[in-house]
Amino acid sequence: MTDIQADLARPLALARVPTAARQRSTFTVQPWLYLAPALCLLMMWTYVPLVEAFQLSFYQWNMLPTSPQRYVGLTNYQRLFALPEMRAALWNTLFYILGLFPMSVIIPLFVAIWTQDLEGRARTIYRALIFVPMIVAPVVAAILWRWLLNEDQGLITLGLETTGLGRIGFLTDPKYALATLTWITGWKLIGFSTLLFSAANAGINPSYIEAARIDGASRWGIIRDIRLPLLSPTILLLSMMTILFGAQWSFAYINVLTNGGPLKSTTNIFYLLWEYGFQTMSAGWSSAAGMIAFAGFAVIAAGCMWLTKRFAVYDN
């Protein structure tokens, strides 16, 4: 996203620099010095671990410095692909992402557009209410939901029982658990996305809308032809974030509420690799699972970037 804006800010100034002048500029230390802290952090926290994880994925090791790392070739990958829980985790990851979409993109988009027309205090109160779930700590939120959904005493379960729907094991029945966790993750996200959409929406130049109104555009027409196109960079950004990080955001809730169960129905690739690494202390499996996730998401991220470049509309 920032890349693209930089692209747009740059072109004219750069194009005018004559070729000779560009060749004259030699290597200087200064810019590298400015970049050094960021580069160091990036190397230390991202690229070095990435390379190490890649290496570890070919070894069998229980993370103890005193025990040897045994080279096992591609065995870790073969085992992972043979495991039914890996397949289940990948499908669940997809489900989390698809399930989060309405709550991280569609609902917030319309809430933001609709609340734009509200006046004064009503708008503030309405937005504050939507934003509250976001500032509740994940573990606290998870525990609140556990109480609400408890099969014996939970308010929601008891409420549903009085309406004649019977008791539903939201967290204990494999049929519902995944949907429940997706909902909890999404519920936490609505506020964040609404905030971003509201900010983008408020940033739209009001003169466009005035002009459209003078020309007799309907309310829906304004949304369709002015607001939505101008919100497209934010829509694409949030879609990309949901696809790339959505399943990760569910980690805290999986860990607190279900530990991946019942019957692995709520586990996803991120929870699985954490379990391999830090519960069963198998660095090799964990790294291999991490590499699979990395490769998959790298491809998807590239696709998303291309889509953003292709479809986003900027108002410059």
């Binding site: 069998q60 043979a82 005493q153 094991g169 967290l171 019942p262 519960q279 069963t280």
Partner: protein, 431 residues
């Protein structure tokens, strides 16, 4: 300047690398100088009774040995081994740790735990171990050497809710003795009261494997035989099928595996098979709310039950002789008659010194007041070791096994085929 620093650094490094050699020096007979030892403990990480009693024990020890300061590190039981490992990796040498038996082999072979026989003079060790239950001591041994000194121990018992029994038309004075009885009682409770019938504390993330293994071994099964996994073999698999049949009949509840204990404490579960370590907590929860009862764990027909120990042993990791002495004194104190009086009466673990049970100076009065605790004591005679898994992948094998048990009990497929598939996969990870 730079050279001097390098030299200094090298000298320090050499000294550090020599340290392990120094560790083979004999530990002193007394503690003359002030010393601080670390103690990783999971009872401290629990809320309430377990933590209070442990603090009381440590205060008592520090009073007796004013030279020793015990720095406690509280970690929940399912994470404590990871924490000890992480601290060793980070170069922070733990001194004493309360760890569970499932990690025994790993501690001895990989984590560098000290064998008491290598650390303490034979006569001194023999002196202290006299009077402790031999079967208990046996559980902490690897290749004939004691790495873990049996500390807090309990066996699974059948907790039951007397009020729910009455409401379901059952006799609370005649608790279920076999699994067939449990099935009948569980169905009755479910149908007549609408509450949950039966649940074992066997599937949750912090439950380990002891309840599951106790059920399997009571049916003559075993989870492994040498380096061969055996949890899908006949008797072991039949035990799991029995649980599945109870799920199908409705006697076995289908609740969140992590919530069995809370559900029972809240009075919403008729029967719960779990460690006696939670007795104190249930007594508090049941007070004035429901009639808490205890019975020995159910059996498979006439077969004798195999109550498997849950609980922990104390492990010493210290390399420095002075610290080793302090650590050993802490071990001695925590497994003394005085300590077991506190541990049993306040937390609910078994006393590993049976001579204190009827001694008026120790547990005598308490056992008289709490006759139901005898169910636990009686099972001590049949105490069966919890089987730990060997090799670098032991945790993964254990996880595969427990995952397949959950799938077999609560899933839709054939329970035995589910176990078999997991056993074949797990076998590849065995040494």
């Amino acid at each position: 300047m730079l050279r001097r620093t390098t030299l200094k650094l090298m000298a320090t490094l050499t000294a550090a690398s020599l340290l392990p050699l120094g560790a083979s020096a004999e530990m002193p007979a007394t503690i003359d100088k002030p010393v601080t030892i670390s103690f990783y403990n999971y009872n401290l990480a629990s809320a309430g009774i377990g933590s209070e009693a442990t603090k009381e024990l440590i205060a008592g020890f520090e009073k007796k040995f004013p030279n020793v300061k015990v720095e406690t590190i509280a970690v929940p039981s399912n994470e404590i081994i990871n924490r000890v490992q992480a601290d060793i990796v980070a170069g922070k040498q733990p001194d004493v740790a309360q760890l569970t038996f499932r990690d025994l082999i790993f501690i001895a072979s990989d984590l560098g735990g000290n064998a008491l026989e290598d650390m303490v003079k034979p006569a001194e060790l023999k002196d202290h171990l006299a009077g402790m239950i031999p079967k208990g001591l046996e559980l902490g041994k690897v290749d004939g050497k004691t790495y873990g000194l049996a500390y807090t121990f309990s066996t699974p018992v059948l907790y039951y809710n007397g009020d729910l029994f009455k409401q379901a038309g059952l006799d609370p004075n005649n608790p279920p003795k076999t699994w067939a009885d449990v099935n009948i009682a569980g169905k009755a409770i479910k149908e007549k009261t609408g509450k949950n019938g039966f649940f074992p504390g066997a599937y949750g993330p912090s439950d380990g494997t002891f309840v599951y293994q106790a059920i399997v071994m009571s049916n003559g099964g075993k989870v492994r035989d040498g380096n061969k996994l055996a949890f899908a073999d006949k008797n072991a698999a039949e035990a799991v099928r029995m649980l599945r049949d109870m799920v199908d009949s409705g006697a076995h509840a289908k609740i969140d595996p992590a919530s069995g204990s809370d559900t029972f404490a809240a009075g919403n579960l008729g029967m719960f098979v779990y460690t006696t370590a939670t007795l104190g907590a249930y007594k508090k929860a049941a007070q004035g709310k429901f009639d808490l009862r205890i019975a020995p764990m159910p059996s498979f027909g006439e077969k004798p039950t195999a109550p498997t120990n849950s609980g922990s042993a104390l492990f010493v990791f210290s390399k420095d002789p002075a610290k080793q002495r302090a650590a050993y004194e802490l071990l001695k104190y925590l497994t003394s008659k005085e300590a077991y009086t506190i541990i049993t009466s306040k937390i609910g673990y078994l006393p590993l010194r049976l001579d204190i049970v009827d001694d008026a100076n120790y547990l005598g009065p308490w056992v008289k007041e709490n006759p139901m605790f005898r169910a636990n004591l009686e099972q001590l005679n049949r105490l069966t070791a919890n089987v730990a898994f060997p090799g670098p992948n032991y945790r993964q094998v254990e996880k595969m096994m427990m995952d397949s048990v959950r799938e077999a009990v609560f899933g839709k497929g054939d329970p035995i085929a589910t176990l078999k598939a997991a056993q074949d996969q797990g076998q590849e990870l065995m040494p």
